[in-house]
């Protein structure tokens, strides 16, 4: 109980530890930095080479996996006769029918 009270008190102290915090002061070169940025605007950063390379590899891999899955599914469908898929057809084939 006492420990809980101490813990809550400590948390409150931590949460209020920034009270009365002074504002940060800019350094001496702050204005010069702004002037430099206005004179030489930085363009948007291009995507780096490794990221492009990784994206291309992932795309190639995904295409390969996709085509293999697609081809396997198609081959499996072609190899499966109708009797295998239709339970009624399977039943008829397993019995001898005598049509007198």
């Amino acid at each position: 109980m006492e420990n809980n009270r101490q813990q809550e008190q400590w948390i409150d102290e931590v949460l209020h530890s920034t009270q009365g915090m002074l504002r940060a002061e800019p350094s001496a070169g702050f204005m010069a930095g702004i002037e430099a940025k206005l004179r030489h605007p930085q363009g948007k950063k291009a995507i780096s080479f490794p990221i492009k390379w990784a994206a291309a590899a992932m795309l190639l891999l995904a295409l390969n996996i996709g085509s293999v899955v697609y081809a396997t599914g198609k081959a499996h469908k072609a190899a499966t006769p109708a009797a295998d898929t239709n339970p009624f057809a399977r039943e008829i084939q397993s019995q001898n029918l005598y049509n007198y």
């Binding site: 813990q7 400590w10 920034t18 002074l22 702004i34 490794p50 990221i51």
Partner: protein, 156 residues
């Protein structure tokens, strides 16, 4: 929000440049201070997102580009504006703030450290006052949980 004096100054410079370039497009739907605050918050969030992205792709970048330096963690917390006796506790607080999500962190800093009213925070973050209230409550609850864990660890 960025906890590094150099980066904070760099972002502040970018804010000045953005304000200078787009002041003519300011449509006076909010006050100029809210508009500048919104630009600052967006710049900070952009920086944090870029840092997270860089951390994720850092391993691949290091594999291919040996010149690129790996990202280091935050330097030791040392805010010149915090009184000496409170520095240790403020360090715990900022470490816990770092673990919050982007929006919770922004709302907590604007409300608790910048001491802005909730109405202004709602304008800056383009959300309702209710949403700000809810985010602030969740942020405080999460911080309390994290700090309780720190207290337990420190007193073991």
């Amino acid at each position: 929000m960025v906890q590094d004096h150099g980066i904070a100054e760099d972002i502040a410079q970018e804010v000045f440049v953005t304000v200078f370039r787009s002041v003519l497009s300011f449509n006076e739907r909010s006050s100029i201070s809210t508009w500048i605050c919104r630009i600052t918050v967006n710049k900070c969030l952009d920086h944090l997102r870029a840092k997270t992205r860089q951390k994720r792709t850092g391993f691949i970048s290091m594999l291919f580009n040996k010149d690129e330096q790996p990202l280091h963690d935050q330097p030791v917390f040392d805010h010149p504006g915090i009184q000496l006796e409170r520095k240790e506790k403020a360090r715990y607080l900022f470490e816990a703030i770092e673990t919050l999500s982007g929006t919770q962190k922004t709302v907590f800093i604007l409300a608790h450290i910048e001491e802005l009213p909730q109405k202004d925070i709602a304008d800056i973050m383009n959300m309702s006052v209710k949403a700000v209230e809810s985010l602030l409550q969740r942020a405080k609850a999460n911080l309390r949980k994290k700090l309780a864990a720190v207290y337990t660890k420190e007193n073991e």
